[in-house]
């Protein structure tokens, strides 16, 4: 993917947790809300990554939000 290509990327990819490019699989801060922007704000990305890689996103809430077969993931804050 080249710099600036986010537009076409969003047209041709699915970034939901069920899609081909799962991104912000718990909804990110846009959905969770932003915790204390002094720095707690980065925590939900970490925790969601742990939930996915331990398989515990499958039982988190009714129906879960597990990325199938997730073995490797990345987060940033």
């Amino acid at each position: 993917m080249r710099k600036g290509d986010i537009g076409p990327f969003m047209d041709s990819n699915d970034t939901t947790y069920k899609g081909n490019h799962p991104t912000n699989t718990n909804g990110g801060q846009l959905s969770m809300g932003q915790l204390n922007p002094g720095g707690a704000s980065g925590c939900q990305q970490i925790l969601e990554t742990v939930r996915q890689l331990s398989g515990r996103a499958a039982t988190d809430g009714e129906g879960g939000h597990q990325v199938e077969g997730a073995k490797l993931g990345i987060w940033n804050t």
Binding site: G27, N36, G39, A40, G42, C43, Q44, I74
Partner: protein
């Protein structure tokens, strides 16, 4: 001393976590109280005792100072009470610092706990005024966004980057609206999520919401909430003796970048993750195409 890019690879793991619901405000609660609550959840989730925690990492002095918080939580065996103060990157920096202390053998169990209560009763008008003043005086405002009419507002500066991206690359508002639509879908089953109960949204919903900072609308803006999140990290050799599957840390990268996006001496915003992801991938021995998912700071 020579350092290896594989320094922390596989040396540590997360073995437990705790998270409160995320709510708009939490009147009557304190930062300490919420951090302690999430911390207690994480300790229980890891199947350990409070006395096992020998390092506590928090947002540090001025936010949630780790020494007093350790005392408040009754963590009597804390050797290292560590504050992480890299603004929005604090959580990641804390994570990397915890890994370094564990890998060096100085500590065995690190509890990280972070949050905030947003108690509007405690945060009085005077403090809100002060917060506005501090924000208005923050570095970058005067020589960066200031001349373009932006001072202190939701998403200040990001609207400019957004329109620049649209101009330079032909990116459309519809294309970027899909990010918010897909993230809302992802959150619908997440119990602690603020917007889970608000149902799905469409591209038209996003574009039709009021602007917070043109062309960014309300549904593309993060909303401050109250709550707290904690995790327990330990050494890989201790990681398997806990109730839940450990999640191993293969790579980390930290870099102080710039206090404000417009303080970067580049025409384009280059977020710090451009650099830190390279460090993390190099340490892990994997690349972007190996990742099954990504959770970015949004």
């Amino acid at each position: 001393m020579a350092t290896s890019s594989k320094t922390l690879r596989g040396k540590t793991a997360i073995v437990g976590y705790g998270e409160t619901p995320h709510v708009r405000n939490w009147p009557g609660r304190t930062d300490y109280g919420l951090c302690a609550e999430a911390g207690a959840m994480a300790i229980q989730d890891a199947g350990i005792e409070p006395t096992d925690i020998d390092c506590l990492v928090t947002l540090g002095a001025g936010q949630q100072p780790p020494g007093p918080l350790a005392h408040y939580m009754g963590l009597t065996n804390v050797k290292w009470a560590l504050g992480s103060t890299m603004a929005g990157s604090s959580a990641g920096a804390a994570f990397a610092a915890a890994g370094s202390l564990l890998a060096s053998g100085l500590v065995k169990y690190v509890l990280g706990t972070f949050g905030g209560a947003r108690d509007t009763g405690i945060l009085g008008e005077g403090q809100r005024m002060e917060a506005r003043t501090v924000a208005a005086d923050s570095p970058g405002t005067e020589f960066g966004r200031g001349p373009y009419g932006v001072t202190v507002a939701a998403n200040d500066g990001y609207g400019h980057m957004y329109t620049r991206h649209m101009h330079e690359f032909g990116t459309t508002r519809e294309q970027l609206a899909k990010i918010a639509v897909n993230q809302r879908f992802n959150t619908l089953n997440v119990p602690r999520s603020f917007f889970a109960s608000h149902g799905p949204i469409t591209v038209d919903d996003v574009l039709g919401a009021r602007y917070t900072n043109y062309p960014i609308t309300l549904l593309q803006s993060v909303m401050p909430v109250a709550g707290a999140i904690s995790w327990v990290m330990t050494r890989a050799d201790l990681a398997k003796s806990h109730p839940h599957p450990p999640v191993y840390v293969l790579g980390v990268g930290v870099r102080e970048h710039s206090p404000q996006p417009d303080m970067q001496q580049t025409r384009w915003v280059e977020p710090g993750v451009k650099y830190t992801s390279r460090l993390a991938y190099e340490m892990a021995g994997y690349g972007p195409n190996d990742m099954d998912f990504a959770n970015f700071y949004d």
